[in-house]
Subunit: 481 residues, 2 copies
Amino acid sequence: MTPEEFREAGHALIDWIADYRQQIPQQPVRAQVSPGEVRQSFPGQAPTEAGNFAALLRQLESRVVPGITQVQHPMHFGWFPSNASLASVLGDIASSGLGTLGISWESCPALTEVEEVVCDWMRQLTGLSEAWQGTIHDTASTACVTAMILARERASDFSKNHQGLQAVPRPLVVYSTSQAHSSIAKAVQLAGFGQDNLSYIEEDAYTRAMLPEALAAAIESDIANGRVPAGIVCSVGATGTTAMDPVADIAAIAARHNIWLHVDAAMAGSAMLLPECRHLWQGVEAADSIAWNPHKWMGTILDTALFYVRDTTHLERVMSTNPAYLQSTADGQVTQYRDWGIPLGRRFRALKLWFHLHLDGIDSIRARLRRDLDNARWLAEQAAAAPDWQVLAPVALQTVCLRHVPRDSRGGELSGGALDKHTLAWVNEINQSGQAFLSPSILDGRWMVRVSIGVESTTRAHVEALWQLLRTSAERAAGRR
Amino acid sequence: MTPEEFREAGHALIDWIADYRQQIPQQPVRAQVSPGEVRQSFPGQAPTEAGNFAALLRQLESRVVPGITQVQHPMHFGWFPSNASLASVLGDIASSGLGTLGISWESCPALTEVEEVVCDWMRQLTGLSEAWQGTIHDTASTACVTAMILARERASDFSKNHQGLQAVPRPLVVYSTSQAHSSIAKAVQLAGFGQDNLSYIEEDAYTRAMLPEALAAAIESDIANGRVPAGIVCSVGATGTTAMDPVADIAAIAARHNIWLHVDAAMAGSAMLLPECRHLWQGVEAADSIAWNPHKWMGTILDTALFYVRDTTHLERVMSTNPAYLQSTADGQVTQYRDWGIPLGRRFRALKLWFHLHLDGIDSIRARLRRDLDNARWLAEQAAAAPDWQVLAPVALQTVCLRHVPRDSRGGELSGGALDKHTLAWVNEINQSGQAFLSPSILDGRWMVRVSIGVESTTRAHVEALWQLLRTSAERAAGRR
């Protein structure tokens, strides 16, 4: 394809995208397709001859769009927000258009240095000190695997350079809580520690935050039993209920035993753009690594996961390779991001953050986050005041965890399996309707519903409409029992 | 930013990209900036107020473009090709514009199912049997880490679910050669095996291919010494000289000992689109995993790395997590790609491959690859016939490894450190000039120059111009000695 052909097709595509974004509110939130339906709409073999762009756009429309769950929809309240702000989309388009290659500083100096610039801007915007240096990973999952490997290598005196983890004489242990994101257990497993060496520390029964005294006791006990505490993953805004582990207390314990402390703030990092929220990760300066995703609530399109460390020497010692074909005269004077993560090649992801910050401005981003915090508080107040509704966890940010607990025929509160059945009945009805989308999840062994507020286009009116829908659906489900 | 603002800015950006791509041949190939120059052109803090798009485009032009090494330039012969075909760029733009979220089938059924479709198309186009199922990773490096973890878990009976690698009684060993890409050693280290348990097998002195009899002997010896062979990484088109390890012979040995065999065809996978090249990985059907990068020679923009496995049950058992908040009614009927790799969240990368195949057509992609093979053969013939030039390795694909070895003052061939100095002198002169770019690399302890042909826009005329430039520069450097 020539640049002139690209120009013509590109204009058509931009119009298509603008139209598409405009009509999202008219789409069902959750895709209405059945398993296999999209796949079966495609031919079994690749096209051989070149086809035209108009035909491709029509196929995109007819085959792909019905298979999209609309996470940019103002009535999307599932999982966590996954905003793809149009300002950051433009940065992503610029990145694709430039067609750069990030495998070393030399392969694209601008790719490396703009990443340094925006990671430093984001450091300042979240109130972190100059002690931190950042890079962009694809996801917080990958950042966590990296952190677990950093922890492993610190505790094993760089076993990777010798006989590996398999020759480490005493078991290395990682600590977290049951609230931590599933990627934490996965990271611990992938890094080779083994699931049995992931120690889940007791949480506060209501806030679900890690109890520091329980952590200290577990560590003491492990040491007494010949095990080596290697890592702690502290969740700031855990997925289930946005539980906030107490970073300062945990960091003090980590420091006492020289344990790598990774702060997983995948969701809540966006809140740290707001000075009034920073108490939620108080003590973070004493951590060893931090990961958070601008591609969630802040809205810099996926994949934009920030990973900060203080000890970049350790990072590079663990992650570096230096083959002859990648050496250059700039070595030693520049950052080689290939030595800061797993992949060698990288896209020019920094442009997404730059465009987003430049075109929207941090002030407007902050205003939007405050709007969402406000909307979450409003919804929690409504639910707390309404008969039969329970708010199950503190609303630290923008997620409200709810159950509708109607009375059963004998006047007692519905409970056990019957309550589960009721919860899933009304939430699935809403999700299937396409009017809104919410994530059912399990808390204390029972299903509940997470209302995660924060889509860029979600206003108070949408949250009000949701609250109306929740009540109608739950009460209708209760009436059918 | 509203869709209408996006529409206006998007049109301007498309024009900018089309113009940019058109004038690449007039740019220096290697960026001419010094370390820190791009970074210093940016303000120290993020912008607070929203800025306009025209100003941002001007900054992109003035600050970023000078810091780009032009890997889409027809005179770029460095590393390996990293083509970002404009057809695939359009697919990437569509992906960004849609703003989808891939964390489960339910979060975007189309994202999962189009990935299944295109991975299957690519399987057929490279002549692989239906036994293989694929997914798209960011890079072959990440695919290799995944493969090494799969190898570790097979050899350790799922140690990750118990006490981890640290409790495995006998050392697990991985086999490869010194020609393997740096990401192989990194993957072995990250997966916890330890560098000492990566066994480099002897290579053929000319082809640099792994010697199967040496591999068999190493394995026997390790078993006799109480070590457990766990994985083999077989390079099909290794980075230095595109060396081709003999897959069939290696696979037979792997099968005999139940060792996980990973085929790293990061570069050479593109060649497998050509039936006449498939003898180069003959025996691949008996491997356990294969990785290759359409984002190299084939030209589907980075990041597009295909990863195929035969035993998806093993893959999912190693990589899966199933938290409550990601469960849905579709579970069991659909593919959950989060269980096929490290990250949870993924972009809609399949669109890049779909757009590329649809808009360019596989026939034209194949014709381009054949053009490049032809150009490489032509260059190798010129060098072989020219006085003082040496072709150092078989030209299996599109990479030609060269040295210019002039006579010294006593009529003997230049050698040792003096030859290194000469090689680096002429190649650095070319690279600094911006007229062309080549990767110096080390072979048998001495610097050489890799001419890697395969940029989408590189025609025979460009290769002829390069050959002229090589001779002029090398002879001038020799004359200055």
